[in-house]
Structures are given as C-alpha cells and as structure tokens.
C-alpha cells in the first residue's frame, strides 16, 4: 500500500498544470467555449502531441498504457483549467468503447486517428426515457442483408456533432434488459441520421440524435452482437471516475478562489475572511474537499489494481461529488456574493460545469442506490 505518485506521474501532473497555466487562461477558455465549434483544434492538437489523447490506451493500440491514476491526474487538471475540449466524450467514452470492443481493423480505422487527434467521436449512451439506466435502450437494430438497420433516438449526446458516433442499440431483449445490446459505429452523415446540435449550459456541446432506418454495415458492429452490456458498464465506470476527478479539480479551484476572495472582499470595515461564521464554513469546505480527495484516491487505486470493489468505489465517489461536492460548489458561489452569479467571473463557469458533472452518469441518489446494491443488499 502506497500513496505516493511515481516520477512519471508527478511529471504528468506538472506538465498538464503548466499547459493550463500557459495556454489556457480563463479568457481563452471563454473564447473557445463561445466559438462556433466549441473547442479549439489547436489545443486539441496539443493534447495529442503531449500524448494525452493516447493516455488511457494500451501500447499495442498506440497508447501510453496509463492507468486510472494517470487519467485522474489529467482530469483533475482539466477541471482546474475548466477545459471545454471534448476529452471525456472522444477519448474516454468513444475511445473507451473502441479499446474494449474494436477488432484490430476497427481500431486502426478509428482509434488510431482518434489518438492522433484527427478524429472526434461520441458515445450515444442515453435516450429520452432512459434517465441513468444504461441498459434502458429502446433504439433497435435489425439485420437486413449485410446491414443493420437502426431506429430510435439518442438524447444529450456529449460531443454529438462528432464525425464518429458510437451507438448502442438493441438487437434483442426487452427494453431494459442487459441482454441484447450491440454497439455500432456510424460515421459522417448517414442517410436517416439526424443531429440537432446545441450548446450545453456548461459551454460544452451536445446533440439530439435521431435514427430513422439508418443502415450500418455489419463491419461496423463493435464487439459481440447482443453482448456489449458489460463493456458499456465498464466504459461508463471509467468515465464516471474521470468525471469525478474533473469535478474534484473544479472543487479545489472553487475552494481556493473562495478563500482568496474572502481575503480581499472588505465589508463592515474588515475582510470577510475575518468573520467567524464564514471561517467555519470555509473550514467545512476544506474538510469536504480533503474527504473527497481521499475517496477519489481510494477508487482510483482500486481501479488501477483491477479490484472488483472498484465499481462500488466509483459509485461512492460519485455520490460524494453529488452531495458534499455540491455543498462546496454552492458555498463557493454564496460566499462570493453577487459576484458569484455573474457571467464575468470564472466562479460561475466552474459552478455550471460542476453542476453538469454532478448529473452526468447518474446523480447522487442513483449512485448511492448502486453502492447499496453492490453490497449485495437492498
């Protein structure tokens, strides 16, 4: 048992932090978020040059073989930097599906350009009715000659405007069944594929996807027909933990900015940092942050070790993000007073991104229930 980072991990953490410091000011971030595309091609290229888009893939796939620990370090820094580039969507979610389910041919077709920064991708894992149930898939795929024909709707698909869409659909089984889920890769503008793109409240991009008899060649089936549920679950687990690391980075930034603001904001002739009621609340924020760091470390170490308890640990962190984390975020806004709710200040944007992450992959209630179920009890 060991809590320290090795040299490579330390270097990674430092290099991301440096990049954010030098290349990713809040003003730059806002410019990118408000641009048409919603992310910067230039920044994305840098991510790939720095090896970050290769991080969570094994070496034989052209990756760097990073574990959950490296991914945590990266995502935490992305959280602090309020990065809007679709790393979670393209690399962790879509890349995560490809690395688990792709054949060597499929990987060279899609994963290689994804790693090199030339392909954007998305995983369409939610439907209008599904809420947080990953296996609630009403989109159907039926075989017709050498093609599958897909029909259905996917909702709030992160980075849904991307070239490559990975779409879980139902080849058999009842609507919420674990059996019968198959992954399909769809590229470009296939006939019958509709995309209604929009910004999300955190400045990212998503889309509603409609599939009306979209023909997908058999060669685009990823993984086993009807048997992709466990891969789906594992991709989402990995992404959930990554989202928790990003949320943790955000909460650290919010907590530190609140302390800083309180030192400078003078009311009643004194910095508000000197008011005991606020001091105690800032102490509570620090305690909550340190507790969250501990849980995150625990879950990440379990995932890195391939331990089966990791799933339960992921739910524990996500629950804590959605409860204690939310309190930190709300307190940060409250203690900034009116300034905390202005567009001008970064605090508001941290808050909105945090709020999005709290919903993604299931909110606190969902994950506490899952935590209970995984203990083998109601």
């Amino acid at each position: 048992m060991d809590f320290s980072l090795n040299d490579e991990q330390t270097m990674l953490a430092e290099s991301v932090a440096r990049f954010i410091d030098h290349e990713y000011s809040f003003a730059e971030r806002q410019r990118i978020a408000e641009s048409e595309e919603g992310y910067s091609e230039r920044i994305w290229k840098s991510f790939s040059e720095l090896g970050w888009t290769a991080l969570p893939f094994v070496e034989e796939d052209g990756g760097l073989g990073g574990s959950a620990i490296e991914l945590m370090l990266l995502m935490e820094a992305f959280g602090r930097g309020l990065v809007v580039e679709p790393f979670l969507a393209t690399v962790v979610l879509a890349g995560g599906a490809l690395k688990r389910l792709g054949t060597p041919e499929q990987k060279s077709r899609w994963l290689t350009p994804l790693i090199s920064g030339d392909l954007q991708a998305a995983l369409a894992f939610t439907e209008p009715q599904s809420r947080f149930d990953l296996f609630d898939i009403a989109t159907t795929a039926r075989l017709s000659g050498n093609d599958y024909v897909l029909s259905g709707r996917k909702s709030v698909v992160l980075n849904g405007g991307a070239e490559l869409l990975i779409v879980p659909a139902r080849t058999s089984g009842a609507q919420c069944s674990e059996e019968g889920i198959t992954f399909f890769a769809i590229t470009g503008e296939a006939a019958g594929l509709g995309r209604s793109k929009y910004r999300t409240v955190d400045g990212h991009r998503a889309a509603e996807i409609s599939l009306r008899d979209v023909r997908v060649p058999r060669a685009n089936v990823l993984g086993p027909v009807g048997g992709a549920a466990s891969a789906l679950q594992d991709v989402i687990d990995e992404a959930t933990l990554a989202s928790c690391a990003e949320a943790f980075g955000i909460l650290c930034a919010l907590q530190e900015k609140t302390v800083e603001y309180s030192r400078n904001r003078v009311q009643f002739g004194a910095p508000i940092a000197s008011f005991q009621a606020l001091q105690h609340r800032m102490a509570d924020m620090l305690i909550a942050r340190e507790q969250l760091r501990s849980l995150l470390n625990w879950a990440v170490m379990l995932r890195a070790a391939g331990a089966p308890e990791a799933r339960r640990a992921v739910s524990a962190v996500k629950y804590q993000v959605g409860t204690a984390g939310r309190r930190i975020a709300e307190e940060a806004v409250q203690l900034h007073g009116g300034m905390g709710v202005t567009w001008e200040l970064d605090v508001a944007h941290y808050f909105k991104r945090f709020s999005t992450l709290a919903i993604l992959f299931g909110n606190a209630d969902y994950h506490l229930d899952r935590f209970c179920e995984l203990a083998g009890r109601a």
Partner: protein, 400 residues
C-alpha cells in the same frame, strides 16, 4: 384557532377564481405554461388588469388604492394567483417604493407617484447595492450634494434588476459624510432615469441572461422635491422597505404551485419506465420539502396575523426570507434532478410562442431547470444575504 375558511372567505376565493378565469389572458397563460420569459409589456398588461379590478396593491391602505383585506384574504389571493400560474408582481413599484412614499412621502409626492405605480404606468427599479456596499449596505458611497434646488448625484449602483426597462429609480444616497454612524447621513431619493448623466450598464448573470445592471450616476441633477421624508433618514425608510421585501421574498404561494407541478411531473409515467416519484429517495426529498414549505406557509400566516393586529413586519421577516429562499433553491435543485440529462441543453431559442412543439428538446421545460437553478442562487444573496438575515436574527430577535 380554526383552520377552516369561513363562508365569506370561501366566497372571496371563488371571486378570485372567477376573476382569473375571465381575465388572465390566454397568451400569458401559455407563456407561463411553456416557461417562456415574459416581456416588459406582458407584465404591464397583467398588472393593469389587476389594477382595473382594484387588486393591484393588495397591501396598500385603502385610501391610496389598496384592498383593506384581512391576512386570510391576502393569503387566499396569493394562493389563487399562484395556482393559476399568474405572473408574479414586479415588486419595485407596488411593493417597494410605493409603501415608502405613502408612509414617508409628502402629499405632493403621493399625488404625483402613487397613481402611476398603482396603474403600472411607470416602471421603477431599486438603487441600493453598490460595488463596495453589498451586505454592508450602509457603507454606500453614492453621493448627493445639495446645490440650490437640486441634489447632484455621483456614484454607482449595482444588481439593479430591470434597470433597462425602468422609468424611475429609488436610491439610497449619502447626503452627509460627517456622521458618527455610517447609517446616518443617508437619504432616500427618487430619480428619473431619463435625467442626463444616468447610464445603465448590463450585467450578464451566470445563466447568460440580462436581468440586472449597474447604474452609473455622473453629475445627475435631481430636484430637491424628489427627496422622500427627511434628509439623512433614508436608512430608516430603506430598512422598513427591506423588511417588507423580505416578507415578499418568501414566495410561499409560488413555491406551493411549483411543488405541486413537480409532484405531477415526477408522478407521470416515463416511456418504458416507472415514474420518478416511485424512486424512494426522490419522493422522500419531495416530501421533506413539502413539510418545510407547509411550515413556512404557517409561519407566514402567523406573521401576517401579527401584522394585522398592528405589528409591523419586524426582524421575524428574516425567518421568512431565509427559509423562503432555501425552499425555492431546494425546489430548483429538485426540478433539475427530475430533468436528468435534459437539464443540460442550453436552448433559449425554443422558448418562444411560435417555436414548433415537435422540435422542442426535452419533456416540457426541462431545459430551463438548470438555468433557473443557476440564476436563483442569487435568492440567498439578494435582499440582504441569508448571512445578513442571521445576523439580524441574532442581534434583534435573540438579542445576542
């Protein structure tokens, strides 16, 4: 103690219901139902309808056009309006500056300003907070120097809601800097927004909308006759106003309506899935909130009953402010929770009456829930932050 409405009270309730049935315009109804933000004209139209019925200024004394209603009637009226999803009253004229003018203003001011407020002919806004004076409002620095028949005003007000629509602003300004307590030397001034030197600068808030502003005053000349009450007594007047404001801020009737809608929404079966209300965690949170809200409803009724027997809304109004906004924010969070992923799309363009229903993203107005949650973080900050309210309770109620 008796919880039942009397026959008269029931008759009054029917009267309000009939009025709403007949007079609440269909297009406003639809906007409200679809979550479409109202325009200035919408508010004015609705408030004029209320005025014509004699119900624009529920709390004003009868002599100035108020209703003379009992607390229970006011409670019934607020509930029925909320139940019909009628728009909230824009408070700055009727609820804020109006009471200050009829309480402390001159006869001339009453004649000049009250009818236009009552009839919603003039849109008011509030000039209290300043960049350096938020919670510590009394340290405000906007100066008004007497020069002949004018005050010359210089300074900046901030967080001014709807200043972009306003014809007039009521301000707390400093008329005397040589005072022992900073609460002294503050005066209450009415300023025409079209006066040269008044400049409105938008502040975009967290959710991306333009609701509040900075208002800059550069050598703005304000006739001395626009001073309300005595020079240097503005703090006292403003404080009374704030206590009224806090009572209003509780927004119990509106929260009851929203909670009922949320319960309805969460109870509806989802395509292929079970209703959210069958999720024990969600339903328990909703229940706990319903209980807090029921408590606040009775706290408000008790406060109104106390006011009716002659007590002014005192520091206890701080309780209403704190709890009322906590409940609103908890409702905001639950609405967002109920929306799930559909809280995320940011699609203001679909909130227009002519937007095609079939292109709408999300069930109902789910895509407004996050924006509302973000925006309404302000509720625990404005009108005297909840921290300030607790200071007030500690000092003035508990005597600490």
């Amino acid at each position: 103690m008796n919880i039942d409405f009397t026959a008269d009270e029931l008759a009054f309730r029917d009267e309000v219901r009939d009025f709403l049935e007949a007079e609440f315009p269909a297009d406003l109804r639809k906007k409200q139902a679809l979550g479409i933000p109202l325009e200035k004209e919408d508010h004015v139209r609705w408030q004029k309808i209320l005025y014509r019925r004699g119900w624009a200024a529920v709390n004003w004394p009868v002599e100035y056009g108020g209703t003379g209603w009992s607390p229970v009637q006011k409670y019934i009226f607020a509930n029925e309006l909320a139940l019909a999803d009628a728009p909230d009253m824009i408070p700055f004229g009727v609820k804020m500056v109006g009471p200050v003018i009829y309480t402390y203003g001159s006869e001339r001011q009453k004649e000049r300003f009250l009818p236009d407020i009552l009839q919603s002919n003039v849109w008011w806004c509030q000039g209290y907070s300043e960049p350096g004076a938020g919670s510590d409002l009394a340290s405000l620095g906007t100066r008004a120097e007497r020069r002949g028949d004018f005050f010359v005003v210089n300074g900046t007000k901030t967080w001014t809601t709807y200043a972009q629509y306003a014809d007039w602003i009521f301000c707390l300004v400093r008329t005397d800097r040589n005072v022992a307590r900073k609460q002294d030397g503050i005066s209450f001034l009415l300023i025409d927004m079209s006066t040269p030197g008044v400049r409105v600068k938008p502040i975009i808030t967290i959710e991306g909308e333009h609701e509040v502003n900075e208002v800059h005053f550069d050598d703005v000349e304000v006739p001395v006759e626009n001073l309300v009450g005595e020079e240097g007594k503005g703090w006292t007047y403003g404080k009374v106003l704030l206590q009224h404001e806090r009572t209003n801020i509780a927004g119990v009737a509106r929260s009851k309506y929203r909670l009922a809608r949320l319960r309805e929404k969460a109870g509806a079966p989802v395509h292929g899935g079970r209703p959210l209300l069958e999720d024990a965690s969600f339903s328990r949170k909703l229940a706990a909130l319903e209980i807090e809200l029921k408590a606040l409803e009775f706290t408000e009724l008790r406060t109104l009953a106390a006011i009716a027997v002659g007590k002014a809304p005192g520091p206890e109004s701080s309780i209403l402010k704190v709890k009322g906004t906590e409940i609103q924010q908890a409702l905001d969070a639950l609405f967002m929770e109920a929306a799930g992923y559909y809280a995320l799309p940011w699609v203001p363009e679909q909130y227009r009456l002519d937007f095609p229903e079939e292109q709408r993203i999300g069930h109902g107005s789910e895509t407004r829930t996050a924006l509302r949650y973000f925006n309404n973080r302000k509720a625990s900050i404005y009108g005297g932050s909840n921290e300030i309210q607790k200071n007030i309770i500690a000092k003035h109620v508990l005597g600490l």
